[in-house]
């Protein structure tokens, strides 16, 4: 299984789960409620000036659900075509990306980092699928995905490292005290032992920065990094219910493995540029 197929496979699982979650949103939330397109699109610079039956159809709940289903189905078709080495495997991914971007525009709010990482993964995958013969596009797409992943881990860790609540341990304790992301058992342990609070809080941002630099380090360091990262995302999914981060970030790992030989890959991409 090549890196393109593997990336498509992991991404399509995340896309399908995300689409199923979107389809399961109650219909009534889309009519005179929080996801009514008139409220959502008020945040967009380019938006319909007034409500018409046409806009009611294309931004209505049925169209929203249809786009979500199309996004999932096209990504799954992309996996099948990629698996069989079809030269047009990138086309369904293009459809999936268009649907994903439409939903970004349609919803305006309520999108998160996992949704954003999926945009990067889909764009990188489309590039990978453009020319599977020479490998130039494959390496270009994979390097884009890997660098975005490294940037995400380093940014997330560094921003916490410069934040006093995170350095003092209050950051992690605060998150754990919420109903949305928290856990009563862990909170009890943190409140009993202040040093664990500090250690875990600092451990989170140190490990995020470390993962980012290990990805950039290449070679075996990258493999170790994604091992750490996968464990981190699974724990976060279980504790904090951020389930789609496993798939959004997990889809970057095949590219990170491919690009672990940065020296050779960079030389190859440079050759492609000079051709």
């Amino acid at each position: 299984v090549d890196v393109f197929t593997l990336t498509c496979l992991v991404a399509s699982i995340g896309i399908t789960i995300s689409a199923a979650e979107d389809v399961s949103l109650p219909r009534e939330l889309f009519r005179n409620s929080i996801f009514d397109w008139r409220y959502c699109l008020a945040f967009q610079r380019a938006r319909p000036e007034r409500s018409t039956p046409f806009y009611d159809v294309i931004f209505g709940v049925d169209a929203f659900r249809a786009v979500a289903v199309l996004k999932a189905v096209s990504s799954l078709v992309g996996v099948v075509l990629a698996w069989n080495g079809h030269p047009l495997a990138y086309l369904p991914l293009l459809v999936s990306l268009a649907c994903h971007l439409f939903m970004f525009y349609r919803l305006s709010y309520s999108v998160d980092g996992a949704d954003q990482m999926m945009i990067m993964v889909l764009c990188g995958s489309i590039a990978m699928g453009l020319d599977r013969g020479t490998g130039c596009y494959r390496d270009l797409g994979a390097s884009f995905i890997s660098l975005q992943a490294a940037l995400a881990y380093i940014t997330s860790g560094a921003t916490k490292a410069f934040s006093s609540p995170w350095r003092s341990g209050d950051g992690f304790r605060g998150v754990m005290s919420t109903g949305t992301f928290g856990n009563a058992g862990i909170l009890k342990v943190l409140d009993r032992h202040k040093y664990i609070q500090i250690a875990v809080s600092r451990g989170i941002f140190f490990s995020q920065i470390l993962i980012g630099f290990l990805i950039l380090g290449g070679s075996y360091a990258s493999i170790v990094a994604i091992g750490f990262a996968l464990l981190f995302h699974v724990i976060v999914a279980y504790l904090m219910r951020l389930n789609l981060f496993v798939w959004g970030f997990g889809a970057t790992y095949p590219s990170i493995i491919l690009m672990s030989d940065w020296h050779e890959r960079t030389r190859f991409v440079t050759q492609c540029l000079l051709q």
Binding site: I17, L25, I34, Y39, Y137, G141, K160, P165, G179
Partner: protein, 182 residues
């Protein structure tokens, strides 16, 4: 062709990096970023989320002499419902995130604009519509010259800190009374 694609990805990567550490420099670009192409990778930083949100509402009744008497606050929605299967399939993810995002917009608007203007904004209208729907409030049928008379309605966003420990609740935003006209 390859050169163009490479330049596109390189440019995107540079803008993504600038957006993480010098976002102010790209404010002009954010206005055109309807599709979320400029990522924000700062998850839970610099200020971690330390609270949950609860939406409350109450309706008034005509107390005579043109005065309105409001009943007690009641819960319309909480933004932290959890299910055991959320680690794999989180159906309330979008709704909870939408409430949190709209709350952030409202707080930002409240710092700059007077309450009357904030109450006319899209984030307040969206949350207000959710509250009316979730609370099952029936619009008042008594309308004179297009204006509802009788009952009016208010909603509030309450920040609850320490749901899993010693809980404190703070009213973060209270909407202006709005008529419950059809």
């Amino acid at each position: 062709m390859f050169l163009m694609v490479a330049a596109f990805f390189a440019g995107w990567l540079v803008l993504s990096a600038i957006n993480q550490f010098k976002a102010d420099a790209l404010i002009w670009l954010h206005r055109y970023d309807s599709l979320g192409l400029l990522p924000n990778w700062k998850f839970f930083a610099p200020s971690p989320l330390k609270f949950d949100l609860v939406l409350l509402y109450h309706t008034s009744q005509d107390g005579g002499n043109g005065e309105s008497i409001y009943g007690d606050w009641a819960v319309a929605a909480v933004a932290y419902d959890r299910n055991v299967y959320d680690f794999f399939f989180n159906t309330s993810r979008r709704l909870n995130k939408a409430i949190t995002d709209l709350y952030s917009f409202i707080i930002d608007l409240s710092r700059t604009f007077p309450i009357e203007s904030v109450c006319r904004s899209a984030p307040v209208k969206a949350l207000s519509a959710l509250v009316v729907q979730r609370a099952g409030i029936v619009p008042d049928p008594v309308v004179v010259s297009g204006i509802a008379v009788g009952r009016s309605f208010q909603f509030a966003i309450v920040r609850v800190e320490g749901v899993r420990a010693s809980t404190t609740a703070v009213f973060a935003f209270v909407s202006e009374p709005a008529p419950l006209g059809k």
